[in-house]
Every structure is written in structure tokens, then in C-alpha cells.
Symmetry: C2
Subunit: 397 residues, 2 copies
Amino acid sequence: VATTPDFVTYPSDVAVADAVCHDRWVEVTWTDRRSSRFHHLWLRDNCPCPSCVAQITREQTFEILAVPAGLTPDAVERTRVGDLFVRWPDGHESIYDTGWLRDHVYDRADPHTRSSTRSTPRTSWDSSSFSAPPTFDATAVMTRDDALHDWLVALSTFGCTRVRGLPDDPDVVGELAARIGVVRHTNFGVLWDVKSEPDPITNANTSLRLPPHVDLPTREYQPGVQFLHCLVNDATGGDSVLVDGLRVAEIVKAESPAHFRTLTTVPWNWANRSRTSDYRWSSPLIVLDGHGEMSEIRVGNWLRAPLVDVGFDRVEEAYEAYRHLFEVTYRKDLVVQFRLVSGDCMVFDNRRVLHARTGFDPNSGPRFLRGCYSEREEVESRLRVLKRAGQDGSTHS
Amino acid sequence: VATTPDFVTYPSDVAVADAVCHDRWVEVTWTDRRSSRFHHLWLRDNCPCPSCVAQITREQTFEILAVPAGLTPDAVERTRVGDLFVRWPDGHESIYDTGWLRDHVYDRADPHTRSSTRSTPRTSWDSSSFSAPPTFDATAVMTRDDALHDWLVALSTFGCTRVRGLPDDPDVVGELAARIGVVRHTNFGVLWDVKSEPDPITNANTSLRLPPHVDLPTREYQPGVQFLHCLVNDATGGDSVLVDGLRVAEIVKAESPAHFRTLTTVPWNWANRSRTSDYRWSSPLIVLDGHGEMSEIRVGNWLRAPLVDVGFDRVEEAYEAYRHLFEVTYRKDLVVQFRLVSGDCMVFDNRRVLHARTGFDPNSGPRFLRGCYSEREEVESRLRVLKRAGQDGSTHS
């Protein structure tokens, strides 16, 4: 079997049946009678041989400028085991593993059906979907890869989860995050406290009610995953609230396409100022990806800066759309309200799901959460590696 | 003087001369005879009083849904000291500091002239601009705020700098980065080594020639600032190369608007795979900001994954444009090649400036660099705080 240029194997019931060289591409017919076209340069670029790919790092050393633009194979054929063989005019020979090649077919009617960076389809939710986030056992998640996998799939699908039964240790939230991957550092530190303080640098560290928001909308790259570990919650008030920003966006779009367009195009200003830092960013409240789907939402009432980047003529439109969006985040049929208890950790997609808390009375009892941030791509990377380890063919087409 | 809703003061020679309430906005005439319009909701939203803004955190507690959409002041007037006073129908009263208000005028012909997130205009460069990056003294940068300021302005302007004279300490690169702000953690660690290794997880840790690239194009958020501290460079070969990606983009655009369009619209696939991680992303090679200017470039030949997200019909166009871009990065009149010596640290905008190295002979002598990452917004935040400290009016309009 030919090598593949990554750490994944590609078991496949389907093999190359035939290969024909056309002017601009090679046409491969598979043993299941489907056929796929691969451009000459694409094939040359993806040669996995030891002189094109450093075998230890699996990183390419071949550079596309080493061959002419109009490169055409001298010969193409099916190997004895059903891989694709190509010989190039300079004598270079490439062999493409049949499973790898089948997995990388790009000759399809709708290329967008292939999502190469998001492993799990998202499902939007509201208050009728559940009364608390999908919940997972801390010990299982920390010790078993299948439990880790199931937790991360839920996180990817719904954007919110709860891990229950963590030990009473103020640093364990970092260990939970490290089970996925790298923890993000910010000016708030690696792990940070949420508690009422006399001299807070953020409204989070007061006893104030916090309206639905994401954390750090003031940064170009909002943290993709947020962890909030409840160490103690004995105060009166201080319930937790989650709202699915994906559902919020769907509703605003359905109720007013014009507002939705405004929300995706008018840049709002953001500022996170303290005595020692001054972060600012400018971004629409809803950002779409290349396929027109919501990539992220930015809502954080107290972190907005004066709206100055948009120009006079769109300011009223901007406020009208913002009011609509903000109003939807408060709707009873969208809000999931619940109470964190000691040992609970809320883990959610901070670029999709808004969180909030009801105000609390700091004199009625202690309330102390400890949190940290990570990124969506850490979740996706961990899921890919878990799938490699448990590779059973189910993850490959 | 009225309070301002942030930690900045706004000294101003200009004051409010008069204020008139119109249907949808307040028109302010200034003592320099200019006039500016402020929408009613914008003014209400930006009231800095203690019941609207938490005075310790300087973060807003007022929410825009607390007032009706068609809100109109009951009274507007100039205060005795030249601030703006507004009384609202519910009796709430707002006073806007005249310097703050003047600084936040958004009623201008071209709102895009106001760049709220980039402090310094960029200047593109080539090999005729300098023979090595603008160089700064390590001791000065580490100990004096004015030297820190000048270094960061150069970094922001040119996207590349060199700090010279760092001690022979493998951890000092982290201290240099911390002088700016938060250091970014990745799967490569906080500080990472660049040296030839027997079992590398990246081509960087071989003795191979590295073509011009950015680090981590495989991540959604490429690190904005890269630090490379040279501890020893006694090998034959291993020179450093920098190319301004901003200039590269300008040249490609001038030579072929069609290629430029392809580069800004066709998503390439990226992968950074190791035995324990598997990061992937999909993005055009050149990303534009909301004003149509280059926000970032993604070039890293050995970190590209097979092109699969774009669809069959655009693959040849994608390769043609990529070849053009890649060819430009090699042009002699763009490349600045120099040699790092012990104590040098290259600090550059990793989303703008490509770096490369010539191959070296690992048996000819040791070569050991140590690096870390930070973000553009850490630079901008530090610059804003430095300007606050040295506030002399020059940073305000």
C-alpha cells in the first residue's frame, strides 16, 4: 500500500479500477463504478513520496514552482493493489493510496457539503430542548476517551455542556481544559476568578446582573470555548442562564432580513479598558462564514464602545437592529436558566452561546466560580486524534 | 468637568458653543465653528453617569432596551464649562465631557478615515528599504517606556523589527514578549525551540531550507506577532529572510487583478498534524478587512493540505494564482536577507511579513533559536496605555 501524507490511514472497500489521462486531468474510475477527476497539478502537488514529503514530520518539501504550469503526466495506471500510479515527464513517480485518494475527491457537484474544519453538524436549541445543558460525568470525561469523545461531540453540536462532579479544587478547571488541548492566556490570566470584589476590573466581578453576552467580544478572536467551574454558590440569586446565539440569529433573520443584514455588515466598536490594558476591536454583531452560515455572534452590552466606525447615515439602522437582537436574547422561550452547584463546570462555545447570570446578594453567602478559555480548534483537533485512535473505518467515506 | 466612560482624559482647546435638539439628533456647534450631529439614542447609550456606567470598572450597566426606540431629549444645552447637557423625558440627566464628545464625533464625510483598531499606518517595504529590520536596543526596550513605544511603532508600521543585545538566556524571549502583553500558548508550548532534531514534529526543526511562510496558517487565528531569539548561530548557512507580504499582495494585485481576486476568495486547506494533534483550517491566501485592505496573508508551503473545499472548476485558477503569489515571495528585489547573531531577536507581524531561512549544515556548528507568539492587539493595547501615561494632548484630535 502506498504511503499517505498524514498520520491517518484510509481503509477502503473501494479501489481504483481504471485511470485515464486527459488534457487537464486524470479520470479515475473506481471499483464501485463512480468516477472522479483530479487535475494534473493537484496530483503532482500531493505526491506523498519521501522526496516530496518529509517522512517524519509528514510536511511537504516539494514546491509547486519546481514544475511547469502546464504539467501533464507521461503515464497513469492502476497498480496491482488498486492504487493510482503516475509518471511525470522528469521521471518522477507518484503512487496515491486508493483510500486516501477516494477520501480527497473534490470533483463533486456541491463542494460545500464537505466541511473540512467542523466535524459535527450544529443543532440549534431553545428552552424546550432541555432544562439544563447536556451533562457529563467528570470522572468519566477525565479518564476515558469514549466519554471525552461523547462530551466533545455534544459541545460541538449544541455549543453547551455541563460537566458534573469535579473535585473541590480551584485549579481543576485547567486540567479539564487541558484534557482537550491548549488553554488560552489573556490579560485575566490562565485561570480567572468570578466573584464579587471591592475593586473589580470587570462587571463580571461584581454582584450585578449580567445580561446575555459572550466573553471578550473586545478581541479580534473571541475565545471559542469557555469553562466556568462552580466551587461554591451559596448566595441568594446568581443563577446561570444560557441562550443559543445560533437560534437567536435564525429568529432575527426570519423576523427581519433587513435587520439581519445590518447585523452582519455594520461594525460595532468594542473596548475592554483597565488601568493596565486597553483592548479594542471593531466587528459586526453577527459574522458569517464563507458559506453564509453564522460563524460567531458578538453580544456584550457593557463592552461596547461608542459606535463611531460606521458613519452617520447608518447609526439609527444599527441601533434598531441591535435592539431587535438584544430583545430576542431575553425571550423566555429561548432562555435556559439553571443553578450551578459545587463541582459543576459549564463548558460552552463562547462564540455561539450567550451566557448570563441573575444578580445576587454578596452578603447572603459565598459565590465563587473559576474559569478559563480554550478554542474551537482545540476541540476539533482532539476529536480528530480520538477518531484516529479508535479508527474503525466509520469516519471515512 | 464631566466624567468620561473610560480611563482616558480628553484635553481639548475646543468646547461646545451651542446645542440644538432636532427631530432625530442633537446638533452641536463647537467653539471652532465646526458642527456635529449626534443621534438621540447614541447620546443616551453613551451617558457616562454613575447609574449608567459602573464607575470602578468603567463598564456600562445601562441597557438600550430600557428606553423607547423613538427617544427624544426634553432639553439640551451647553453647560457653564462648555460640556453638553441633556435631560431625558424620564428625568435622567446626562453630561458629556466636551473633549470626549469631540473625540467621538462620527458625523464625518468618510468614517473610514477613523481607524479605531490600528494606531499606526502601515508602510510596505522591499529590499531597497533596508538591509536588515529596523533595530532596537534590548536594554532600552526592556527598561524605558519611550524606547518600548518607538519599537512598537516600528513593529506596527513595518511589521518587522530586530531587538539587539538580549542576554544569553533561553527564557528571555518570553520576558521581551511580556513587555508588550500576553504570550500565546500553542501545542508547541509557551516558548519553543528552533533547532535541528532527530525526530521533529515540524520542518522548522530540521536543517531544511524553509520557503517564505507565516507560522500556524493552519489555525483560524494566526499568531499576530512572532519572536525569534537567536541564542547561537554558528552553523554554515541558516541565514534569515524576510519578505513584506503587504508588498507581495500589492504587486500581485497590480500585475493581475484576476489572480488577486482568486487569492482573496478561494479557500485553501491547511493542516498541522502530529501524533497528538490535528489542526485544520480553510481560508483564502489573502484576507481583506472591511475596508478592502489586506488584513493578513497565509503562505506556508508545507502546511497546505490537499485543496478540496473549493470545487473542481476553480482548482486550476487556484493553482495559477498561488504560483504567482509564491513566485513573487522569492523575488530578489523583495527579499531582505541577513544573519541573526547571538542576542538578536527578530520580532515581526506574522500575519503580514513572511519569514524564511536558508538551509544549513547541522554538523558545521550549533544553531539554536527560541521563539514565542503574541498578538497584534497586545501591541495596540500597550501602545494605547503608553499614550495614556505620556498624555500630552498629541494623541487626541
